[in-house]
Symmetry: D2
Subunit: 330 residues, 4 copies
């Protein structure tokens, strides 16, 4: 039984806390949020205590692991402190927006041998996982092209944009991780960005649509397309193309109903609205993998290094955007 504290009781922390409460080998011990009312509400719902501070959580000998779902700017501090307190750590992406901070964090914790996992939920989606494993088993031969479609239903508030680190570090970072999951290390990155959705995002210095092309060291080519708006829901698809064929992993809908009328045929539901719904299974699997990794004393599938590498690709994309050049990675 792994005993947990969830730090951060926002939307994603709440979801994780509920998943932990349901997991047979996990037990939720406490929750924490700087907004006391949020922590109290979740503590009441799940019948656990609301910790008064991070320090209280980290001192608590009844806490084996922390799930960090606080704001990005706190991640490095909390990871470091938790690792020093001997806790296992599951931290939401990104580790930080600044590569130097990430490297410093790694230097600080590497010898502590903490189990550290980064919340790249998509690797735990049953369809993406199945596509990956079938590719790895040779079904399509050598991977040649990977097309990643990732479009949010609607842009976040500008306040969020302002602290997000920009589209590549905030949103595309998931796609950079998926690219590495399927294609391995990346040799070269090129990016186009655009402002097509909301002029306020441009005013905030960010882009709201992008196309990124990458070359893996294996030779495979990768395309990512992003949009901060998608009329038909949260569009999350993969096209995995190899010498012997192709695997598609598609969207999810609430029902299997399709409609036929005088105007159209085979019309399905819109796709599930956003990550909480679309990746519900993925989040449960992610937490289960973390529990298993702690129990087995193994590096999780989405390790600290994966978090660092995804940020490195985001930064390379940003550099390409600014210079108009393809950026080669060491």
């Amino acid at each position: 039984m792994i005993r947990f504290s969830v730090l951060g009781c926002g939307r994603i922390g709440t979801m994780h806390a509920r998943n932990l409460a349901r997991h047979p080998q996990a037990r939720l011990t406490s929750v924490f949020d700087v907004v006391t009312a949020a922590a109290d509400r979740m503590a009441a719902e799940l019948g656990v205590k609301a910790a008064a501070s991070i320090e209280e959580v980290l001192r608590d000998t009844e806490v084996d692991a922390v799930l960090i779902a606080t704001s990005t700017d706190t991640h490095v501090e909390f990871i470091t402190a938790a690792a020093r307190a001997g806790k296992a750590i599951l931290c939401e992406k990104p580790i930080a927006l600044d590569m130097a901070k990430v490297e410093q964090c790694w230097n600080d914790i590497r010898d502590l041998n903490a189990t550290v996992m980064i919340g790249f939920n998509r690797r735990f989606d049953p369809s993406f996982r199945a596509a990956h494993d079938r590719m790895a088993a040779g079904e399509i031969g050598k991977l040649e092209q990977l097309v990643i479609t990732s479009r949010d239903p609607a842009p976040p508030p500008i306040a969020y944009i302002n602290v997000s680190g920009g589209l590549f570090r905030d949103m595309t970072i998931h796609d950079f991780d998926i690219a590495r999951y399927f294609a391995g290390e990346i040799a070269e990155v090129q990016a186009f960005g655009a402002n097509l959705v909301d002029p306020a995002i441009a005013a905030a210095g960010d882009i709201d649509a992008a196309m990124v092309t990458m070359r893996a060291t294996s030779g495979a080519l990768i395309h990512i397309n992003n949009s901060r708006r998608c009329a038909y829901g949260y569009d999350q698809r993969l096209e995995v193309f190899g010498e012997k064929g192709m695997l598609l992993a598609g969207n999810k809908t609430a029902t299997t109903v399709t409609a036929f009328s005088a105007e159209r045929t085979g019309a399905g539901d819109v796709v599930l609205p956003f990550f909480i719904e679309r990746y519900a299974d993925a989040y449960a699997n992610e937490v289960a993998h973390f529990v298993d990794s702690i129990a087995a004393k193994q590096t999780p599938l989405t390790s600290f290094r994966d978090g660092a590498e995804a940020l490195r690709l985001a930064n390379a994309a940003l550099e390409s955007l600014k210079t108009g050049r393809a950026v080669k990675l060491g």
Copy 2:
């Protein structure tokens, strides 16, 4: 080179004439219609002569084969006369509405060894044919269930209903033939009919929707559903279910475009409107098979006997409708 005359220059005769004009081993020599203007128009379009009478066509030594697309009540007379004149015959379904007339026709022509083919176009549809051939090759093992969906886009005029012989002999007759094509001889027929579309059809003594169940002598079960109206086009599908799996043959649309919006996803075109469009390939294949059958002196895939047996099933369905009993066939 087989030299043809097309009898009947309505919608279906016109289509056949154009297909014959395009076929490399066929040559259209003449056309005939009781409406002289119709024959003249087609003769002009295709650069052939308009015959003044059936007799002129049958006497014509430059005519090897006739394609009979005249009204149903003339079929038996023209088949018999053409067979006696030594012509090969491709006749639109049904042979007649009365089984005794069909048997008389057979008695009159059986010793003349004419090539006689009945226009059951669906056996020549590439998708239905592929489903049949894959079943026959063992892909789904023994056939257990066949579900035939056959819905017209809109009811015909009441004037047509009045001379049609009723839904089973006019419309379901194609489905009875398809049932025999896939499942072989039929042992038992049960039918439900309904008036759901147009009260004028009920007033004319006919039904406009039906569900027919049959048992093949092989043991396979067959379901046919019919409607004289279908909002989304001409619905023509087969579900071929066997011990090892299932084959579906679906509808055809004008394009492969699917649309995604805030209301729905994957919405395709309505299905092709009616038989001329849906079975365009099937009609061309049908004529080609007829040409091949004449050249090879072989009984066509859709023989006179197939025409007779489909009518027998239509009559059995009608009897079941009246008696409320499953009707066993000898």
Copy 3:
């Protein structure tokens, strides 16, 4: 908070117990099974007590409701006793195999005003429910045809067949209920049965495949096809056809992955294996509806009468099978 006891700790009882344990307004108090070890195992898993007898459960003032998942031959006795003990009742289908017993049960309990719900899980499937509600909202106009496909992956053991009451009462009973859910009361039933799967089923006096046709009092026609074997999984589909269009409710698969190779394109997963997986959401919704019905003191959507009517249709189908006649209902 509704306090529950689950009677019967087999596969389906276990699933219900787990769903109850997760439901925020339900609390599982005890479980019972004639096989003591089965009850003990479930009691241990869920942290509840294993009752020594039905009587103990029914006397327990901490039990508000019972979920009856015992063998069919005990249903009437347990429903009656539970109703007399003032418990709400959710009983698995069928109520009984004998209409007289069902009527007697009804006479015994009707004045007790117990909340009684029959476990017709399919009405609670999100896709079937959505199709129903969209039809009811007028999307396809008046219902004209309903095609119900219901094929089990593999036949049950002969020992089960022997006590099942036969395919119509055991398996088709779900489809009879769905037919009534969509089309309302049924006027006429006709059935064909066959032995296509396993000769041992024929030897046991049962059929293993069937096609049933029904006419609703509304005029709508209904087709049900059943097989005790289906190579590609548990095939559960609806086709709801009306004057303005059609709604299809399809199968569910474990992932959205489709594969493209030199042999084929768009190949998806096999469908979910059987009812526990396919109707996982439906079972959770069913229990939630029962909890809501108790709280609201309302007749559940799948009432005792629905259980009785589905059995009446099964018996009519059986009579049609024996007589070769369409059977008219009162």
Copy 4:
């Protein structure tokens, strides 16, 4: 009636000649090929004369239009000569491999007012056309992203590669034209190429896979992916994404049959093998559009300028490939 001569009797010339022979407003007068036997064979098949030389064709007053399907290196010479001879011209893509030659050609013919059309067949594909027209009609709002998938089934012979001008000018040129058809003028091009299919192609100095990203002057982003090999057939798809939704134009298969087995569900046919089959309708529509353009004295939809602009994009992609920089146009 437009009277045609087809220059070049290879695979694509043969197909065009047959389409012209079927077109009601076109008449094929003659054919020409440097391989006399090829011209003779086609002349015999279609009942026309085999011209002895290009000069003979251009002098022929019974020829209104030429269809140039000869090798790329002859296009500019034949276009120029035909324009001077007062013929209308439908020329296969590309005009030439060298932009200077294309400009020279344009300078030589611009004042002759010949009807010149370039054979960008894809604009005439019913599905691509429908997607375009629905986008233009506002169905998805402003275009934001265009994803073009274009994969050949198998690489051509190295002898062809050697004279092809490379993947961008030979194969992607169609995609560059489609990009302009949907998104208008292009502002910026970036390209990645790879050798994933056949080392002999690398040895010949060409690439066999590519990903190109472009930015339209409208702001829309465009992705093209190419491969010289595709296991499941000729993969030709468009994804047209806008503010209000998305339109997909998919592949074509020989039948609508899908198969369900113990291994998989919904498995369709492989896609049509290559351009002759896939774009059969498109080629017929292309020729019809050319006939209409001549009759209406209008610039065809795929004009000489479109041919020049597609080549300009191919050259820009090649420059990007060499420099690692995004190339700005205009």
